[in-house]
């Protein structure tokens, strides 16, 4: 049973990470959104699996919320936003796609090293996925650093949140429900505020290119 | 010796210095004239000058203030006080306890200060020029004097003028020690600068580009001028006496016995005459230096003083 659980956990985590790699490989904002949507859904599925194997009812609610918020609501809002602002392409990213992929690989390697103390205490069957979660964090951070569009940075940030949610699910079978609810509220509110600011940026600068946002210096 | 008699003797020798000063200057002028193939004025000519000046009216510039009038008294007074300190024929003196070598330097500086202010007061360019130059030379000669005196004080273990003289009398060979000789040389150069002799200043000229002391006193007339001139002669006398009696105090009386004093007076007069003639010869031999070469001369004096001190403590 535990072995199966463990395999499912690692598989799920790998799926989540794979979606991130997929995102790095894509160029279109739509592709980003799709990748993020699938990532959230895979994460939700994994959460449900953990709920099932770990026998934790609260986690089902978390999984459901995840699908609702990150799998459905946010991708839709993002799509609308992308359509409104007319930005479809992550034009000329700071780092070429090939190099990005290589860097992501390296970051995941670093994550494995960094997660050594965690693995040392691998008591729960899900712990095999923890390095993947940390790797996902780094990949998300990399996406934020290398994007030239504010909207892709938002997606990178959402992915970072997914990474942490993945970490929470794998490491501790989620945090207590009241916290989880707070986190979801924050995530949703945070996204909404980001969306408002993105509209503001588009209204004032006529673009979502972050290069335009470099007037404040020194 | 710190009794009334001592004080009387002290005052007497200061008065003697005061009385002898014009004669000494007259002697120097006469010797210089002779060396320059002139007949020269008689040696008592300075007395006549003084008498004439004391009998004249005073003209004071309308710009001048009380400083101008007070300065000659301060100059004269401070120089007389210095004369009180110097062992002319007896040593030690009561006043030696009251002021020492360093005090002597500052007393002389008081005179210079007062005279410089007196020079500035009428507001003429000459007075300002003289004051400026006089202060330049006075300030630059200070370190040399200080070191020369330090060397003397080190030799004697005291800065008391009387004791320095007494010590050299007690150890006559000290007068020929290198420290002593170097200090003498340093003091001699300083003396030339302080008393306005060649090659630093020419007391016989009124050429505006070169004069220092004369420029400063240009506005003075009558009794005031007499005081200033007399003070400057006294200053020269004091310096010569210092040179004579601090470095070669042989013959100086150490008691108030009449015989000793008589011999001491004779010795001092002889030494002063020798020094005066020497000074006249020296002045005739050298040309006046440009003002901006004077600091170099004083630097030489400073170095001599430094060497004097060094040899004083290295030979000890």
């Amino acid at each position: 049973m535990d072995k199966l659980f463990s395999e499912v956990a690692v598989l799920g985590a790998s799926g989540v990470l794979l979606c991130a790699i997929l995102l790095v490989w894509r160029h279109h904002i739509d592709g980003y959104i799709t990748a993020f949507k699938w990532q959230s859904n895979v994460l939700a599925a994994l959460t449900a699996a953990v709920a099932y194997f770990g026998d934790d009812r609260d986690l089902y609610w978390v999984a459901a919320l995840m699908v609702a918020v990150k799998g459905v609501a946010i991708p839709r809002l993002l799509t609308r936003l992308a359509a409104r602002v007319g930005q479809h392409r992550e034009s000329s990213p700071l780092v070429s796609t090939a190099a990005s992929l290589v860097i992501c690989g390296l970051l995941i390697l670093l994550a494995y090293t960094a997660a050594r103390p965690l693995q040392a205490m691998a008591a729960a069957p899900t712990h095999g996925g923890i390095p993947l979660a940390i790797g996902l964090m780094f990949v998300s951070l990399f996406v934020i650093v290398s994007s030239k569009k504010a909207i892709s940075q938002v997606i990178g940030f959402l992915m970072l949140e997914n990474a942490i949610a993945l970490l929470a699910v794998l490491a501790t079978y989620g945090v207590p429900l009241v916290v989880e609810l707070g986190v979801f509220l924050d995530a949703l509110m945070g996204f909404l505020v980001m969306q408002i600011v993105l509209y503001d940026i588009h209204d004032t600068f006529n673009t979502l290119d972050v290069d335009a946002l470099s007037r404040l210096k020194h | 010796m710190f009794n009334t008699l001592g004080v009387v003797v002290e005052i007497a020798q200061a008065l003697l210095a005061l009385a002898v000063a014009p004669l000494l200057v007259g002697l120097i002028r006469w010797v210089k004239a002779r060396l320059q193939n002139r007949r020269g004025a008689p040696v008592w000519q300075p007395y006549a000058e003084l008498r004439k000046l004391f009998g004249k009216d005073t003209i004071v510039s309308s710009n001048a203030s009380w400083i101008f009038r007070a300065a000659p008294f301060v100059v004269f007074g401070s120089t007389v006080v210095v004369a009180l300190l110097v062992p002319v024929f007896v040593t030690p003196l009561p006043f030696n306890q009251v002021a020492d070598l360093f005090a002597l330097v500052y007393l002389l500086l008081l005179g210079t200060f007062a005279l410089a202010l007196g020079g500035l007061d009428p507001g003429s360019a000459f007075g300002g020029m003289g004051a400026s130059r006089e202060m330049t030379i006075a300030s630059l000669s200070e370190p040399a004097i200080a070191l020369a005196m330090l060397s003397l004080a080190l030799g004697a273990g005291s800065t008391n003028l009387g004791e320095i003289a007494a010590r050299t009398i007690a150890h006559p060979t000290d007068a020929l020690s290198p420290g002593h000789i170097l200090a003498f040389a340093a003091l001699f150069i300083v003396m030339l600068a302080e008393t306005g002799r060649l090659p630093v200043d020419n007391p016989a000229t009124h050429l505006e580009l070169t004069m220092i002391h004369e420029a400063m006193v240009l506005e003075y007339s009558g009794p005031a001028l007499a005081l200033v001139e007399w003070a400057s002669w006294l200053k020269l006398t004091v310096f010569l006496t210092l040179a004579a009696n601090l470095f070669v105090p042989w013959g100086l009386a150490t008691s108030l016995a009449a015989g000793a004093i008589a011999m001491a007076v004779a010795a001092t007069v002889a030494k002063l005459v020798v020094l005066a003639i020497g000074l006249a010869v020296f002045e005739t031999r050298v040309a006046k230096l440009r003002l901006f070469r004077v600091p170099e001369l004083l630097a030489v004096s400073f170095v001599l003083g430094l060497l004097a001190v060094t040899s004083s403590f290295s030979l000890r």
């Binding site: 609260d58 965690l118 942490i164 490491a171 501790t172 945070g190 004032t204 | -």
Partner: protein
């Protein structure tokens, strides 16, 4: 009683926010209601303060939603005071003029929520809920930065939002890691991660994992605390935000983030070898912050950014102090409090200056002492206090901080911090003098207006002097309790 205090503390801000959100915020009477309410909140904070001297409430083993100990009471007091002051002086408060009704409502709605989030962050018992509250501070304040819509303020708000969110997400990762440790060790799934439980379990937790967690937490909360090089949002947001918001962000938001760092440091310190690790990391980050803050002051052109960078510097100092043992913690907490007072007052004054001169350029502001005598004098007081000069509180806290550094054996680090603080001093002084002195530019009105609005700032100045010359007993003993609490 304590619950009542809690309600009295948070209630007024909640009510003001609700009123503003309901659209009735823009009314003189409502302004007065808000002001009175905030006064009550400040009184409640003082009540907590008194209460906390007797010990934490409730008892350490309880698992209630809230727990107020000395540290919470102190930071909550600062938040309530600065929050009350800024909300009263800000748009929609009592004296502010010249903002559109919509701006006033927005400011009152989000501003009060912002204060509420900060209060929640320092009183909540659960580490993860604290995180939720800190995240909420970003969300509520980011929308206020572009209150006066301009390109620069929109840009600043984006940077603030993105960097703040990324940082705070990392803090959550750290929280999860520590929680993971706790759950694994205690075997108690769904254990409520309260501070008391964490402190209790800390000695048995895995030191390696705890350090890993601390790295994430420090980077995360350090971003909010304006520690270099995660501080980049700070000068932008502080300089572009409306002055009252800058006052709150610089004055107390940083303190809230420092509160979180301090709490976590206390936990990690209890694990074997933890104290050495935290103090090294804090030293490195703190020194870097002092350096970046101080050096950025030297050639700064905007006075609001000047104040912002000074915040980075002071945040770095607080961080350094945490590395200097118990005496350093004492100094840091005191410094945090002093800085809250001085910096919020200075930022509020910068708002007055901006509205008179119409520019944030240092070179555009001259003759402040002539054109606005009272504002100028108080601004001078604020800047002098920030420069760490007596008779103001920051002198004493810096004195204690540096002394702790020397006595804890960190001589070279402290000496470096001293030198850097000296550079910052000159940087701040030269710009402030350029502003205060000289003749005012043509076309700028001469004479003070709205003197009453200065009363809270005068109170701040007096409080700073009291802290600087006397350091009253109740402050000292409260901070003493905080230091004791760290070791427990």
């Amino acid at each position: 009683m304590d619950t009542l205090l809690l309600w009295a503390l948070a209630g007024p801000f909640a009510i003001s926010a609700a009123l503003a959100a309901a659209g009735v915020g823009d009314h003189r009477v409502v302004g007065w209601i808000g002001a009175v309410g905030r006064a009550i909140a400040v009184a409640a904070a003082a009540g907590f303060w008194m209460r906390a001297m007797g010990g934490a409430w409730p008892a350490p083993d309880a698992n209630g939603l809230f727990r107020v100990d000395a540290l919470s009471a102190l930071v909550a007091g600062c938040v309530a005071l600065v929050g009350a002051m800024s909300m009263t002086l800000g748009p929609g408060g009592l004296w502010a003029e010249g903002d559109s009704p919509a701006a006033r409502r927005t400011f009152q709605a989000y501003g009060n929520l912002f204060v509420l989030a900060m209060l929640l962050a320092v009183t909540v018992n659960n580490v993860a809920l604290m995180w939720v509250a800190v995240e909420a501070t970003t969300i509520t304040s980011a929308l206020l930065v572009p209150l006066h819509r301009s390109k620069a303020s929109v840009e600043a708000s984006w940077k603030y939002l993105l960097i703040g969110s990324v940082g705070i997400a990392l803090a959550f990762a750290g929280t999860v890691l520590a929680y993971f440790d706790l759950v694994t060790i205690t075997g108690q799934r769904q254990a409520p991660a309260t501070w008391a439980l964490l402190m209790h379990a800390a000695p048995t937790l895995d030191p390696g994992l705890l350090r890993l967690a601390f790295v994430f937490l420090l980077v995360g909360y350090g971003t909010k605390a304006g520690l270099a090089p995660m501080h980049t949002w700070l000068p932008d947001a502080h300089s572009e935000a409306p002055a009252p918001l800058s006052a709150m962000m610089s004055g107390v938001l940083l303190a809230v983030a420092q509160y979180a760092i301090l709490r976590w440091k206390a936990v990690v310190d209890l694990s074997p070898g933890g104290a050495a690790f935290t103090s090294q990391v804090l030293l490195a980050v703190g020194l870097l912050s002092v350096a970046v803050g101080a050096l950025s002051l030297v050639r700064q052109q905007s006075y609001k950014r000047l104040l912002a960078y000074s915040s980075v510097e002071h945040s770095g100092l607080v961080c350094l102090g945490l590395a200097f043992g118990p005496a350093g913690v004492f100094a840091s907490v005191l410094h945090m409090m002093n800085h809250a007072l001085a910096k919020s007052a200075s930022f509020l004054l910068s708002g007055r200056i901006l509205s008179r001169y119409g520019t944030t350029d240092v070179s555009g502001v001259t003759g402040l002492a002539r054109t606005m005598p009272a504002t100028g004098a108080l601004f001078a007081v604020g800047v002098l206090a920030l420069m760490g000069l007596p008779p103001f509180g920051l002198f004493v806290s810096e004195f204690l901080l540096f002394r702790a550094g020397f006595l804890s054996g960190h001589i070279w680090e402290t000496a470096a911090a001293l030198a850097l603080a000296g550079i910052g001093f000159v940087g701040l002084a030269s710009h402030a003098m350029g502003m205060l002195c000289g003749a005012g530019p043509a076309g700028v009105e001469v004479g003070e207006r709205g003197r009453w609005a200065l009363t809270p700032i005068v109170a701040c100045a007096l409080a700073l002097i009291a802290l600087g010359l006397m350091l009253p007993q109740f402050v000292g003993s409260l901070i003493g309790r905080i230091v004791e609490g760290m070791a427990a």
